[in-house]
Structures are given as structure tokens and as C-alpha cells.
Amino acid sequence: MTAATTTLTRVPTARSGWRGFGTLLRTETRLFLRDGTAVFFALVFPTVLLVGVGLAIPGMREPITGAGAPWDGLTAIATYVPIVLAAAVATPALTTMPVTFATAREKGLLRRLSTTPMRPQGVVVAHLLINLGAIAVSAALALVVGQVVFGLAAPVSPLTVVLAFVLTVLSMLSLGMVVAAVAAKGSTASAIGNLVYFPMLFLSGMWTPGPIMPDVVRDIGQFSPLGAAAQAMSAGWFETEVPTLQLVVMAAWTAVLLPLAVRLFRWS
């Protein structure tokens, strides 16, 4: 066969699939920042929540009494911080990220990329990085503003808090990726995302923080990823005991959900 004369001379290296990743990451970040609503919820919402609850609800800045250990002596708003951090992770992971992927799929963007030397996995990695960045910024912002406005309690065991936070990020991004993996359309992703997001927030204690959470919610919540997240961070912040169960729960969710997301992920 004569076609041999036109055979491609260059055999692309394995790494050529990532050429332009820097440009991809920069461009996707710019696009992310252009969506005002998403930016608000991903970056500012946790801070607004913390400050709003602290200022609007009477008594939030008073020390707690009569609730027993470990709550007595803390301000109510301080006990709300772990929940706000959990929300800072859950919000981009369950709302913006799945919609971004599903929309890219719906528009054929992932398929379009498959025709270029860039692997469509590049988009996945870029958005995971963007969401990690968003989570870091929004958590840091909430902590700094919370500290300035209310003066927060220093964590009893910072290491536990950090470990719990990292596991929160892993389990939430895994959960969000499962939604992102299967939703065919942006609107579907948004619907499924919200269906998961609000029960998660409830189990984390957003509406029943600290001592006022009913035992039954706490008992169920510790097995949900975001409930475990808030409880683990709370334990690291205010108690000396290591929240083993909650940490294991989050690790287990990650171990199940992440491979599931990878397996289910559809490019078109």
C-alpha cells in the first residue's frame, strides 16, 4: 500500500496530551470568574452566612451556658464555624462543579477537545484545581472575616481540624464528581446537585448547630459525608478526643465515590 509515504513522521509523546494545560487552566479560571453567581456562592457565600448568622440572630455572640461540655463558655457563633467550613467545601463541590461538567458535556465541549491533542481529562483536572482553589479561598475568607468580626476560638487540635478538612474536601469532591460524571445536561446536574446539597447541609447542622442539634440528626449525620465533616472539624476544634468514626466515614465515602465517578464518567 502506497500510503506509507504519507505516514506521520512524528509519533506524539505521551506528554503531548497535556501540551497547553497551562493555557487551559488559565482560560477555565477566567471563565469561572466570569460567572458572577457561581463566584458568589463558591467564594463569598460561607462568609456571608457566618457574618449574617452571627449578626442577625440574637444571642449568637453570647457565651453558651447550661449545654454541658464541650459547649459551655464558647460563643454560639464559634460553634458555627465548622459548619460554615463544611458548607464552603460542599457549595462548589455539589453545585458549581457538577453543572460545569454537565454543561461541557451537553455542549459537546468534551468531545470537541477529544479531536485535539489535548486530552479531555485536562478539563477535569483543570476544574478540580479551580474548585480546590475556590474552596481554599472561601474557607480562608470565612475564617479571616469571622476572626475579625467575632473573634473565634482557637482550635484545640489543629492537626485534627486540618485532617478533617482535607477528608471533607476529598469526600465532597468525590460526591460532586459522581453527579458530574453522569448528568447529561447542566439543568440535570443542578437538580441532582441541589437534591444532595440541601440534605447534606441539614445533616451538617446548618439549621441546628452545636448543642441544639437533636441527637437523632447527629446520629444519622455522622454517617453522611458532610455530617461527619462538620462533626469531625467540630471535635478537632473544641474537644481533645479524635473523631475516629467521622474520619473513617469520610475516608470510606471517598474510597467508594471516587472510583465510582471515574467509572461512570461519560465524555459525551
Binding site: 500500500m1 509515504t5 504519507t6 506524539p12 497551562g22 455542549k107 479531536t115 485535539t116
Partner: protein
């Protein structure tokens, strides 16, 4: 590289245009032989839906090669297989000598693709999109030059979501070209455009070809194929039903000509009688006051002369030109055997 086996069996479309390929004196840029592709059938049924039954084609360097066919014919499936986006069930595909099925990465740098159904992020600007895609390739085109070539320079800061249909298509073509490809696959690039935008896009495609890019053009517009393509295949129901140059195809499917005329009622019977006896007339039909005469290429001349001899002065004479739809239906809407009969003398191309 493994050498492809020769096509087997008699049940194939005839070997495509060997004469054309060899007259250019180079090996084909794209070669598809006996491509077959099925999709999973409807839920709950085991039967698979055949999208491409048997497609063979050969594209020579520097040509604009058309794939024409009605909706659902299997055009997109065919080009998606050769772009390495879909896995074929059978057949041989070579793009620049490489099998894109086995090694899709090997062709991505050299083949630019415009997908039929692909959009971009609503908020990405024209220039951002071009620079982004350019960054993926080893030796990309100059973005500024491409913006000029596709008349997009003044829209460079416009978001994709705010572009008109024609501008979106031009950007889509630009993105297919930004990697400096040797082959560009353009799927339905003018569908949904108004006639002016369509013509402008055709000019662009010719400009691109003049830069030495081989173009595989998918369309269901006969007019587009006629205007742009050096050669084309017509696909229907997943099979190649005809192939050749546009002129060959048009001649092969329809050599007869039709004239419609009206004569004064008094002369009606005389006219009918006269026309029916002419050698160039095959068929005369009466439709109210109108007489429709079908015959050879000389039928118009024969009709007018014969009537003049009888001193019949027609009120009105019109030649019936084949509209786009007529040709379309004639080429694709036939049974196999019929299509093969008429296409065979030219390319030996259909079965």
C-alpha cells in the same frame, strides 16, 4: 504500520476513483474501506442499529471531498470514525497512513475537526478560544492570521454566546484550522446559515483549500457539494450509492429534460399530436391547460421548432430545471439497482 487487506468479496462499493487518485500522483490522504458501525439499539432490544453499513472512499491530497446524504444517512458517524472519535465495528481506515482507530493520538495533531454538534463555553471570547486551542498543538497557525482569514478580527473580544450563527461557524472552522492541520473535516458547516452567510462560508473553504489543506466536507446541501467539491460520495442508509465529480453525478442521474408549455385552447389537440410524434420526445402529459413534455437534451429545441412549423404560437414555455430537492431525491431516494445503473458508467461506483 500494518498493511490493510484488500477489500474482500463482491459486496462492496466499487473501488473508489482509482483514476483520480493516481492522476494526482500521490497516495490518498484519507482512505476508508468497507466501514461499518452500529449503535446499541433501543433499550431492551438486542438488535443494534446500523448507522454505517458499508462505506468506502478515498480522498486525494489537496481536494475538497464531499460526503453528501440525507439526514441519518451515516455521514457524521463516518467522519467521527475517521477522526478517531468512535470505534468502528469493521472496515479499514487510514488517515495520512495511520489507523486512527488504533492510534487516535497520532492523527490529532494533523487532522482538524469541526463537529456538527459542538459548542463552546458561552462566555469564552473568540480570541481566547483560538489561543486556547492553538496552545494544544505542536506547530499552531498564527492566531492573528486566522482571525483575518475568517473575518473574525473585529469580533475577537466577543463572547461565543453573543456571536451570530455565521460567526460561530467561522470560529468553528478557525478552531479546526488552528492546529495547522493537513486535513480538515468539516461537518455540516453551513446548516442553519442564511444564503449570504452560506456563500461567504463557501468562499472561506476555498481559501483554506488554497492553503494546501485537504478538506473533507460533510453536507446535506446538494448545492453546496456541487459548488465546492472536487469529488464526492453520496451516502444513503449507511451505504455509498454514488460517487464521482458533481458534474458526473448530475449527468448520471438525470439526462432527460422537461418543458412545460401552454398553447391557445384551439391549438391544444394539434400541439399534442405534433409533440407526441417527435423523436426527441419520450413522454407527453397533460395537466389542465398545461402540456408537460419530457425528452432528450434537445427536447426544448425540438418542441419549439415543431410547433413553429405548425404555426402554433405557445402562450408560455418554461423549462423545468431540477431544483436542489429534485436532485437530492433522485440521487438518494432510489433503489440500489437503479442508482447503480445510472452511476455505473461514470465511476463504476455504486451497487
Amino acid at each position: 504500520m500494518s498493511t490493510a487487506p484488500p477489500p474482500t468479496g463482491a459486496a462492496t462499493v466499487a473501488s473508489p476513483a482509482r483514476a483520480d487518485a493516481s492522476s494526482v500522483g500521490t497516495s490518498p490522504v484519507v482512505e476508508v474501506r468497507n466501514l461499518r458501525k452500529t449503535y446499541p439499539g433501543p433499550r431492551g432490544s438486542d438488535a443494534r442499529k446500523v448507522a454505517v453499513e458499508d462505506v468506502s472512499l478515498t480522498v486525494a491530497p489537496g481536494e475538497i471531498f464531499g460526503i453528501l446524504g440525507p439526514n441519518g444517512a451515516g455521514k457524521t458517524t463516518t467522519v467521527e470514525c475517521l477522526a478517531g472519535l468512535r470505534e468502528a465495528d469493521g472496515g479499514v481506515i487510514r488517515v495520512l497512513g495511520v489507523d486512527p482507530q488504533a492510534d487516535p493520538a497520532a492523527v490529532r495533531d494533523a487532522v482538524g475537526v469541526q463537529l456538527q454538534e459542538a459548542a463552546l463555553h458561552e462566555k469564552i471570547t473568540v480570541e481566547e478560544a483560538l489561543r486556547l486551542f492553538a496552545s494544544f498543538y505542536e506547530a499552531p497557525s498564527d492566531v492573528e492570521e486566522l482571525l483575518d482569514l475568517l473575518d473574525l478580527a473585529e469580533h475577537r473580544r466577543v463572547a461565543f454566546g453573543k456571536l451570530s450563527g455565521g460567526q460561530k461557524q467561522r470560529l468553528s472552522i478557525a478552531l479546526a484550522l488552528v492546529g495547522n492541520p493537513r486535513v480538515a473535516v468539516l461537518d455540516e458547516l453551513t446548516t442553519g446559515l442564511d444564503p449570504a452567510a452560506r456563500r461567504a462560508t463557501w468562499e472561506l473553504v476555498e481559501r483554506v483549500r488554497d492553503r494546501g489543506v485537504t478538506i473533507l466536507l460533510v453536507t446535506h446541501f446538494m448545492e453546496e457539494a456541487e459548488r465546492l467539491c472536487d469529488r464526492l460520495v453520496i451516502i444513503d442508509g449507511g451505504r455509498v450509492v454514488a460517487q464521482g465529480t458533481p458534474a458526473e453525478l448530475i449527468d448520471s442521474v438525470d439526462t432527460s429534460r422537461t418543458v412545460r408549455l401552454r398553447v391557445p385552447p384551439a391549438d391544444h389537440d394539434l400541439a399534442l399530436h405534433t409533440l407526441a410524434g417527435l423523436a426527441d420526445v419520450e413522454h407527453v402529459e397533460v395537466d389542465g391547460r398545461e402540456i408537460e413534455v419530457t425528452g432528450t437534451r434537445r427536447v426544448l429545441l425540438a418542441v419549439v421548432l415543431a410547433l413553429a412549423e405548425q404555426e402554433v404560437v405557445p402562450d408560455d414555455v418554461r423549462t423545468v430545471t431540477r431544483t436542489l430537492e429534485d436532485v437530492f431525491v433522485a440521487v438518494t431516494g432510489r433503489t440500489y439497482d437503479h442508482a447503480a445503473d445510472s452511476a455505473a458508467p461514470h465511476e463504476g461506483g455504486a451497487r
